[in-house]
Symmetry: C2
Subunit: 354 residues, 2 copies
Amino acid sequence: MKAKLFIKSIVIFIVTILSFSAFSQTRERTLRLASSWSDNFPPFSTAVENFAKYVNTLSDGELTIQIDTSNKHKSPLGVFDLVKTGQYDLGHSASYYYKGIDPALLFFTTMPFGMTAAEQYGWFYYGGGLELMNEAFSKHGLMAFPGGNTGQQMGGWFRKEINSVADLDGLKMRIPGFAGEIMASLGVAVVNIPSGELYTSLERGTIDALEWVGPGMDISMGFHQIAPYYYTGWHEPGTELIFIINERSFNRLPENLQETVRLAARLASYEMYIQNYHMSSEAWTEIQESNDIQVKSFPESVITALKAANDELIQEEAKKSPLIKRIIDSQDAYLKQSREWTLISDYLYLKDNN
Amino acid sequence: MKAKLFIKSIVIFIVTILSFSAFSQTRERTLRLASSWSDNFPPFSTAVENFAKYVNTLSDGELTIQIDTSNKHKSPLGVFDLVKTGQYDLGHSASYYYKGIDPALLFFTTMPFGMTAAEQYGWFYYGGGLELMNEAFSKHGLMAFPGGNTGQQMGGWFRKEINSVADLDGLKMRIPGFAGEIMASLGVAVVNIPSGELYTSLERGTIDALEWVGPGMDISMGFHQIAPYYYTGWHEPGTELIFIINERSFNRLPENLQETVRLAARLASYEMYIQNYHMSSEAWTEIQESNDIQVKSFPESVITALKAANDELIQEEAKKSPLIKRIIDSQDAYLKQSREWTLISDYLYLKDNN
């Protein structure tokens, strides 16, 4: 009997150890992410894929990010709501798409005549930008991280030259968002056309001009085959995409995985900036080799008019809330300071040595 | 007896389980890193600290990086050997310090009239640069990763204006490395002075000029108080530091930790670029507020002479090995392609909108 009791207690002990061992095994988790992009849309889709890969590798398989592109969830401009309502844990999108939901969200992507990519990263990470962005997103139960920069965007493809402000009057152009509002205030007939119909619309003269991104993403659209003028950028000098995460999903993660998500997003964001720089370099060479494209800058009179319209619209925005006023003031101050450095560093290097 | 045997076998079973359990516990590891920098030398020291912090967080404490600065190991320019010989697992330094050991190592930091930070990151990660760098380092049993970019460096602090090539003749200047060789070939008396004595040397006129980094790191040296001319950059347009790791140390790591080291280095590298951008912006504002500094560009005749001297020296380097020739050709091609894009994007944006 004694021996039996001993055996019994040993068996219980073994079972206890095995249960504890099983319980202490790392728990595998999955977070669901909705992106605003279609399948295979580099470098935007690559930024999401890199993020998921980094998270999986860095957590040693503990955390998996399951990506649904817009091909799956059918709501490219509804990602904000999909994450806010908890249908997805995470989203990858652009903050300025959601200005209609909350006007403060306009300011965390890029602004006309605003900061370049390096300047804006400085603002986000060292100049208080990240805190302001999260103040805005926390009102919606969301956290936000920079999600990848396109660098400088081009002003767009034009079928005719713009030599004066008068040339903008009645010009039919696809240019969405805040830049579209600015253009509209100068008389441009801003039109909204699905991306799949842009090439044909430009070719047939339904529109006179359009803006897309830059050579790296424009080349596959083929616009260089039908529009001879490629205007330089003024409206999106450092477009930053965004990762958003539902606060409840984030808070459920153990601290080390929260930090993994944060750092993976940060790396995926920087990485997209370099990937797109590379893509644009390669594509611009290819475009130049196959077509006779003229790179044009808008004349000073047009730039002056665009700036005045921009200033006026920004002043309207500033009235909408104290937070928006603080964001605008913070961006203005950071731009002023960092631009001084940009101008004596990379700018003069490029000016003097080419 | 049967019961006893059963008990014995159960005890063995328990011991086996416990041993296995202890063995399968995550093994905590430490890698030792030697940096070329003194304590508290931001952003260089910060890049190392960030790397160590990322590795520790992302491995959930499994891997610790123990940093020894040059205050400890006393060999700031001997980091390459400290890692090659296995006295340290990792190093953080600059590749071009080790040109004397292997002339191919000159090319992985920055080159006069070469790529900007964004262009060079493109080359490293998408243009074959990383592979060429590791081809060079593998000959020494080392692996290398980009380790942090200073962005554009300034041409230096001068006590008198440079208006012609003749003004360089006999000029006493502290400018180390390859840029120093170029300057020397134009008649500059290149001197080597320990950093602690630079301020006094410049103040007393022992030297006429010196180059350091840029506003963010120059400000604490105080040069702006004693030299009125701040020349723009030509010689280090995108200085990239480097993480090196002994191949044996790397290969001993399990695959997931290898990837953690790789990604943590990549993030720390990008991060330093932005941190230094911010530091330079802030410092430049402060320098301008406290001192009457004139920003000057070298006249075209000087730039032309510097370029000619650079080309000649590079051609000499190209003869040293087929690998060096391939590196130079790869950098030339990438610079040519990416510069076209830089000029129509950020450059024209800055030119037209300021």
